[in-house]
Symmetry: C2
């Protein structure tokens, strides 16, 4: 990872540490929209599991308009917008800054409105020529571990090790893609004319499956979708399962693995159109065992990318075509 | 409301008050599955807006398997299971009891496993002959206000007034149904052969729209669905909007009204198949202005019920038929 990104993460982590020492770090709020929000869902899950201080995640305008009562100058607010221009996310970062809260933001666009609204902006690379190690997946994951190191000083060594292990991510992502390439390509071909594909997951990986549903499928392929939480599947949604209803199901490698396995066992019996992405099959070489659950969503996202690109090819529907987004005012 | 229900709510509220006085009420966890979880989403929203202490909501097995770090003897855990037998919800209530947390449960079944697992069980009526005032909607809403009275002593009078106003709910629900009967019946007829109907909402009413998607449509009508948060609509999902894609959209009367109105304005332009349920059109007679937002989800649910029954009739698909639930082990 470039020193620039490391320095920006460290500046934010130091600011968190100072607040912890001053007793002014009482709540963490993750605030963003769509795929950006989804990319922080694993962090919210991780913080919820690892920290006694509360963390919560909001779509930006819900945070802006229905602001939680506990939000104040002792809050830490983390925002993301790729372009740095998403108005409601910029407003949330500004709201945090104005309240005297710690306002940290991730963006691909230096000097964007979001960059200026936050006190601690962090840049990630994107697009052609960008190294995997400098893209949002690696930059965010390293930041979460560095933030945890600041918030959970008791286990500083654990989080430092996790942070270093992020260097292994690019290679592990490539391996995850190789592992599932054939399955993804076959499933993309079989579902190229499907008007609907459900996704399912839980725990640290719910966010990736949510992003698959709302960004990759609904937004970029115009395929109807819904990300079902595997813990909710048997409490209503499973009744739509049938032999010809396609599902993409992730099986977690962490605390909620049982939920996914139970849902998968059922879906396997009643649907003939499944793509199963099992996080237990990924390589985690170089990653400490006790944080592999937190690396898994990134490996899952790498495998999903293979499916999505194959689906776009086979359906003839480019990932870059939009009928509304960027086309008109809304 | 029957004295039995009032007494059970008061017992739980007293227990909360004692814990507050002892400094042992630091977190509130709402834990349940499917429609039961959905019925507590308005409460989580309300607590988040009104209390400085954190509250969070989980599907039961996520709480059981990926238990939040902050959960301890000072937590308040509220569970619901209609039958009182949902295994993961019973386990959550028992987990709370075992940890010395305050374990409160709602159920239609006295002496059910959930009833026994919790320390403060609260009964609600259901089915033929049950009065609206004693059903889950009224019993839960009154409980939320009484719990807030215990947790937010500073505004005890406000919450006492809100609690009393719950008596008006049955009449207001009947009026909400009358108001939207024609719209619901027409939309049900137009969508009786639709294989997919999206729902959308936000804020206090997101839970109702979520329940409409996963319980009423997916489970009971085998209609594909997805509840889109109106704050997320423009960040991916809106690309699936088209002239023949049906949406049921709620417009809130509270803090997140703007989100819903913005989503509705767009959907109106590009879809010809909308059912709009505007909470600002409901009567709130007898309800203090500052808590009308919290009554709105119940009125919304009453209107939804009209649509659902008309849809079941017109599609010929009984609300009580299931292919998996209750039919086999899973």
């Amino acid at each position: 990872m470039k020193q620039e990104h490391i320095d920006q993460i460290e500046a934010a982590a130091s600011a968190i540490r100072e607040r912890v020492e001053a007793g002014k770090a009482t709540h963490v709020y993750f605030v963003a929209c769509g795929g950006s929000q989804a990319s922080m869902m694993p962090a919210q899950y991780m913080f919820d599991r690892e920290l006694a201080i509360p963390s919560a995640i909001y779509t930006s305008n819900e945070f802006n308009y229905a602001t939680p009562k506990a939000f104040d100058a002792s809050s830490i607010v983390v925002t993301i917008s790729h372009s740095g221009t998403t108005p409601e996310t910029v407003a949330a970062a500004q709201k945090a800054t104005d309240a005297g809260a710690l306002s940290i933001a991730f963006s691909n666009a230096v000097d964007s409105p979001l960059w200026k609204a936050a006190s601690y902006p962090i840049h990630y690379d994107h697009g052609e020529g960008a190294e995997e190690a400098d893209k949002s997946g690696s930059v965010e994951l390293r930041a979460w571990f560095e933030f945890l190191k600041s918030l959970d000083g008791e286990h500083a060594e654990r989080w430092a090790k996790a942070s270093s292990a992020v260097d292994a991510l690019p290679e592990l992502k490539a391996k995850a893609q190789d592992l599932y390439r054939d399955d993804c390509v076959r499933f993309a071909s079989r579902t190229k004319r499907s008007k609907l594909i459900y996704t399912m997951g839980s725990g640290a990986s719910y966010g990736e499956m949510y992003a698959l549903a709302i960004c990759w499928l609904m937004e970029m392929q115009w395929v109807n979708s819904n990300c079902i939480h595997s813990g909710e599947y048997f409490h209503g949604p499973f009744e739509i399962t049938d032999f010809d209803v396609p599902f993409i199901i992730s099986v977690g490698n962490g605390a909620t693995k049982h939920l996914d396995e139970r849902a998968l066992a059922f879906a396997k019996q009643y649907s003939q159109e499944l793509l199963v992405l099992d996080e237990n099959a990924f390589s985690y070489e170089g990653v400490p065992q006790d944080v592999q659950e937190y690396f898994a969503p990134e490996l899952l996202s790498a495998a999903i990318r293979v499916f999505v690109e194959a689906h776009a090819h086979d359906s003839g529907h480019s990932l870059s075509v939009r009928r509304y987004m960027w086309q008109l005012e809304y």
